[in-house]
Symmetry: C2
């Protein structure tokens, strides 16, 4: 541990936070006035508002609308330090993490690395599918959808043409449902104006859901309404169905049916993103760290995990909390308080999840929401749920600037019935299709 | 020329436009009501407002603020067709262009391919420098500037550290001057808050200009004032100086002096982007097509060139018009009218360039402008020129949406003295610097 001290060390305990998602960022903020040095490490220099990634993927928002640089969010906080790096391992005995830019000593270590897309070991799927877990994914999906249509213009063969126009979404959770709704909007309101030469009756959108209902975990009302809305939008929903394989062109379902699509969007599951170095017995199902009610990783005093990567078994949530923003935010805030309590010689407090409900939007003017208020659960659907969804997402954005930007863009998109961000910039998934020479003339 | 007819052919003459910059786009619009089929071919699916690329490169604007998809701009125009493709050659005898997606017959061919960065054959420079000719360039520069600072935090060696903080801009034209001003703004107002651990006195910005003045071609007042403003901002301007070589680290000037910088921005010259297939004698200096006063390429009746790629020698402009937006826009509009005149059996009209002047901005509140109004030339500088520059750039943006977006972002940046778009998304030029192991600890 010889070397240069590039981070000021004023003798204060150092809290190292790995990952600046909802949990990590909230924790860093909660420690603003604590007598500690806060070091946040992330592979990106920005926080991503993941719930709206699907809108970036469908040309509804710019990536700049939903990301905020960490330094911008926290540069007024004197005890805050950021490092753009990847943490490669933990040495809990020496209290050091190894990163891509060097070693870093910690007094408190908080793992907030979130979750990655889970292909359940299917490498062919991983290669051919597109996920929507980060900004690069979302931009790649946007570019791919748009370039599919550009390519479709040149195709004469009916199956080849359809392969470009059809989309298969695997997973009927919020992300799957929301992206299906957004693609339907593009099909109805936007693409027919752009691609007059294409017959949009040929564009099919499929949602494949392994279970018997959409939005599993939400109310029966939300499941039923979301199915109704998607079917009204012309989305084909396959319940109790799984995708067996996908080679980049043919999707084989477990009922024997085959779909042809150049684009398969994988929204079917996530797995924790743990870091090597801790005892094996703290890593449990789904690659999550087993934590106690103070978010302490099993077997450690000063190593914590919060958010998606943490599995806290409680009476009410024996399989852990849902892997969404709220538990991460609440754990981040509470851990900030608990670290300060501990430093003051006090006792830490139990984490109790305050479930505020869940919501999902399905295209223009429609959403479903289960809102928990004063111990009662209210089910909303239709336009009122859509208004609630829009309002809550705008105010939840991290920066005021993003709030104004998203509000303006949504208002614009709503009243023009347009999504203006239809540019192909950056990586595209599908390579240009090899076409027969005879199809190449466009005379 | 066998094959599928994927573009409707209603028996109307087909105008094929190669390139959707200022000239090509304006021409497509000018033909809106003409009895022709308009086919625009571009490698991108969007038009780029090039004069503001440098603001994307310096985190002042999002790329979405300055690009507009062609289909969005023109999807209301019945006779308009777009193809995302690259034109690889021209067969003027058969009246066909060969593209990356097939062959395309034309009745009128308009080359509006613009210009590329000119490294004057220096391949090492081309590999190590960053240009700002397109959106991908601008994003790469933004990412590189930001990641330089992230890396600088870990460097102990003084020269290594400085190599990250110093920027060399080659070329003292509008782009060079504007990017130097924007980097200065970041140095003064933005980065010191983000990177408190860095001493920004160490950040140097150099502009290397081969001639005796900045903004060659503008008035003596503009040249003098721009130099004054840059020096006031602490930019080091090297007049009558050339860069001899750059290996990615050491910049060698022709006066023997060496500068150390990981980032060299090349804004020193452009060259036309011609397409193979036309007679050699129509290609003149700077790889531009020699055109007559109707923008007809020398030796052809139905092949035209407009904008940067066209060289029209007139009495007033014996070396051709300046390679900026105005001549391209005016030629595009005029050619649209001339094609219609020709179709109606009328005579085409000469192109006469209406020079409206030139302007450049240098950081916050300062700009220079030579405005030509009713035959008189007015020289503006300082705040009033900056207001004029801002107003003209906002109203010149292609879509109403972009105008609102840029106006809002600029107002925000101005009043907060901030540039909020400081995220690293996509490609970065510099690889992570190999550091000595002893420098790797950040304890």
């Amino acid at each position: 541990m010889e070397g240069l001290t590039k981070i000021d060390d004023l003798g204060k305990p150092r809290v190292v936070i790995v990952g600046g998602g909802f949990g990590g960022l909230e924790l860093a903020k909660a420690l603003a006035n604590a007598p500690v040095q806060v070091v946040l490490i992330d592979k990106q220099n920005y926080h991503t508002f993941q719930p709206l990634l699907y809108q970036v993927a469908t040309a509804g928002l710019d990536e700049g609308d939903i990301v905020s640089p960490f330094r911008k969010i926290l540069n007024h906080q004197d005890n805050f330090y950021f490092r753009l790096a990847e943490v490669t391992s933990i040495d809990p005995t020496a209290q050091v993490v190894e990163t891509s830019i060097g070693l870093l000593r910690y007094d408190f270590l908080v793992l907030a690395t979130g979750a990655n897309t889970n292909y359940f070991g299917d490498e062919v799927m991983a290669k051919n599918a597109i996920a929507i877990k980060n900004v690069e994914d979302a931009l790649e999906l946007r570019n791919t959808v748009l370039s599919n249509f550009e390519q479709a213009l040149q195709l004469g063969d009916h199956e080849q043409l359809n392969s470009m126009l059809d989309f298969v979404i695997v997973g009927g959770g919020p992300t799957g449902v929301e992206i299906a709704g957004a693609l339907s909007e593009l099909r109805t309101h936007v693409f027919p104006k752009d691609y007059r030469e294409i017959d949009f009756k040929e564009m099919d959108i499929h949602v494949v859901q392994s279970g018997p209902v959409l939005l599993k975990g939400m109310s029966a009302n939300a499941s039923a309404k979301s199915l109704e809305y998607l079917e009204k939008l012309g989305v084909q929903v396959w319940l109790d169905t799984r995708v067996k394989s996908y080679d980049g062109y043919t999707v084989t379902l477990n009922n024997g049916k085959q779909l042809i699509a150049r684009t398969l969007i994988w929204a079917a599951g996530v797995t924790g993103a743990p870091i090597p170095g801790l005892n094996d017995d703290c890593l449990v199902s789904g690659n999550r760290y087993l934590v106690d009610e103070y978010n302490r990783v099993h077997g450690y005093d000063n190593v914590f995990a919060i958010g998606d990567i943490a599995l806290m078994k409680t009476e009410k949530y024996p399989d852990g909390h849902p892997m969404v923003a709220q538990p991460a935010l609440q754990q981040g805030r509470q851990l900030g308080d608990n670290i300060q309590r501990q430093l003051n010689g006090g006792l830490m407090e139990h984490f109790v999840y305050d479930d505020k409900g869940a919501m999902a939007t399905i295209g223009r003017n429609h959403a479903v929401a289960d809102i928990k208020l004063f111990g009662r659960e209210i089910h909303l659907d239709g336009f009122i749920a859509w208004l609630a969804w829009s309002f809550i997402h705008v105010i939840s954005l991290v920066s005021f600037r993003n709030r104004i930007g998203v509000f303006f863009t949504w208002a614009w998109n709503y009243f023009t019935q347009d999504k203006g961000l239809r540019y192909i910039i950056g990586k595209t998934k599908a390579p240009l299709v090899e076409q027969d020479m005879e199809e190449k003339a466009i005379v």
